[in-house]
């Protein structure tokens, strides 16, 4: 029953996230990190965390600060904590990246920067989890989307805790034999909690609301969606809690492997159910011609499906350890980043439109949301992006690093073009000058949403 206002810092999060995404892809084009360096080399870790925290996590945080209050029809709790949370994550990321540079021998800061980074990231993410979880908590019983987001937040807490343990261990604050043991056994759990739990689960939760909204499909708690959530949550609990606990309790490799296998089966089933649900939502849509954000998302859903098939194929042939990099790349760039870019293409114009034209809506003619972008011009950039990701995955599997750099250049070019489009949308540059700013409106600022004067 409550109104939801525009989240003040969401655009700032999106801007910082896009800067990190461009920087990470520029490093990949330059041949920094995997596949030129090993998968666990500090150079690779730098690129991975720039993508996972700088791009994907900030993108998701910005989206959730706006989206969770809309989802549960309650105002965000403690909105004053949003800015400190974002600043802690940004500073923590900077220290973390410096820590990886220190591990790589590129700089000698004379400080345990990795531990500082871990600490600051824990502060930033904990604040974010607190205010989002607190907002969700007031809205129990939770709907489908909110449940996915809640599981995502729990996974973020797990990924964060393991990450802090690594940062302390690698900084020498915890003794070395423990650090080595931790690093060798727990890295896959940390990555799974972050990529499959926090990022994937939250993204699925967001799509369960956004897709029906923009395709005019029926919304609601269907049994198949709930089963997907339960199976996925079970998979995460097994891999994030049970498997590490068993490993550290001294259980044999075989026990841990069985737990991971069970988790994998549950996870694959959850993704399959999600795919069936997506097809159902698409078939039931009342809007025949869908917009570019939905069409582009199809590239991301295809990447998720391909990643599932690749995981099964690699697990069956025993190539998982060798090709884990290609699998993670496909999930992070095809599914998560592809979905992120596709949805930004709708979210940025939508929030900008609401911010600019909300005050005069119904009183004066306003442009349509679609007028803020030029879909015809941008379809090609999404095609280029997804072709780049698929080619990059193939290049990693085949062991062709030069082709991978070329593919990264393609995704970088597409990303830069879309960033330009987001800026143009924010500046209302695609709206005809005559109807751009009716009396009573003003041009939104690029990075900070204006607040309504009641």
């Amino acid at each position: 029953m409550m109104g939801a206002s525009l989240s003040r810092w969401t655009m700032s999060c999106f801007a910082a996230a896009l800067v990190a995404f461009v920087a990470a892809q520029a490093l990949m084009v330059a041949g920094y990190g995997y596949p030129a360096a090993p998968l666990r080399a500090p150079e690779t870790l730098l690129v991975v965390h720039l993508v996972a925290i700088g791009w994907l996590s900030l993108l998701m945080m910005g989206a959730l600060f706006q989206f969770v209050p809309v989802l549960v029809a309650k105002p965000l709790r403690d909105p004053a904590l949003v800015l400190p949370a974002v600043l802690c994550v940004l500073c923590g990321l900077a220290f973390l990246l410096a820590g990886f540079l220190q591990m790589a021998g590129a700089i000698e800061p004379g400080l345990p920067v990795l531990a500082w980074g871990g600490g600051l990231l824990v502060c930033g993410f904990s604040l974010s989890i607190w205010l989002l979880a607190h907002t969700l908590w007031q809205a129990r019983p939770l709907g489908l989307s909110a449940r996915f987001v809640a599981t995502g937040l729990a996974s973020l807490a797990a990924a964060m805790a393991l990450g802090l343990a690594f940062a302390l261990a690698l900084s020498g604050i915890v003794d070395l034999p423990f650090a080595v043991a931790l690093d060798q056994r727990a890295v896959p759990f940390h990555a799974t909690a972050g990529i499959a739990g926090w990022l994937t689960f939250t993204a699925i939760g967001v799509t369960y609301r956004l897709l029906p909204m923009f395709m005019l499909s029926p919304e609601g708690d269907r049994a198949i969606s709930r089963a997907g959530w339960l199976l996925g949550s079970a998979a995460l609990a097994l891999v994030v809690v049970a498997a590490p606990a068993a490993a550290f309790a001294g259980a044999g490799e075989r026990t841990v492997a069985l737990i991971v296998l069970a988790a994998g089966l549950c996870g694959c089933a959850a993704v399959a159910l999600y795919g069936i649900d997506l097809a159902w939502l698409y078939r039931k849509r009342k809007r025949r011609a869908v917009e570019l954000n939905i069409r582009a998302s199809a590239g991301a859903f295809a990447a998720l499906l391909l990643a599932l098939l690749l995981l099964l194929a690699l697990a069956a042939t025993g190539g998982l350890a060798e090709h884990a990099g290609a699998l993670v790349y496909l999930v992070a760039f095809g599914w998560l980043s592809g979905l992120g870019l596709s949805q930004l293409y709708k979210i940025v114009p939508f929030l900008t439109w609401l911010e600019c034209y909300g005050p005069v809506m119904g009183r004066k003619p306003t442009p349509r949301v679609q007028d803020l972008v030029v879909e015809r011009r941008d379809t090609g950039w999404f095609v280029l992006y997804f072709l780049g990701v698929y080619a990059g995955t193939a290049a990693l599997l085949a062991g062709w690093p030069e082709l991978f750099r070329l593919a990264a250049a393609a995704t970088l070019a597409a990303t830069l073009a879309l960033v330009v489009e987001f800026v143009l949308a924010r500046r209302l540059a695609n709206v005809a000058a005559a109807s751009r700013l009716p009396e009573g409106t003003r041009l939104p600022r690029l990075f900070i949403a204006g607040q309504r004067q009641g």
Partner: protein, 177 residues
Amino acid sequence: MTQPHRDLDVRPILKAGGEPFSVIMEAVAALAPGQSLRLLASFKPLPLFQVLGARGFQPAAREIGGGDWEVIFTPIAAAAEAAPAPAAAKPATGDDWPEPVAEDDCRELDPPEPMVRTLEAVERLAPGQTVAALLPREPVFLFEELEARGHRWRGAPLEDGGYRVVIRAGGGQGGAS
């Protein structure tokens, strides 16, 4: 306050996973003039404060243990004065909300068109008139805008997943707060 409270316990409905909103609204509509409603719920029903506040009720909430809450909604004198017609004249609503001048079905429009159409309809109203709209979902951004413009609203989810809202045009100053 010479009359006893009217009691309504919605905890069984909430425990069964139901939506008590319509029951509460029926109870409110059936209140005698000046009578207050004593509501028992398994959480602090903050959204109701807004809805019933817009209808001239003052909430007084206290936790009664086990996570349950007792809230007494008392009609405030200002609301009674503002009512142009006696409650008995309109048993269906029992307050100063006239029948909607129109009902617009926006459920099959692309966002944000439902919000635009509804606000256009609201802008055509004279102060005190109401208009109804059927929307695809609970319109949180619309509520924000209505509040900024000083209009009041009441809404409830529809059985098929949509949302029906009735908006009463304010006189140009703060209404639902």
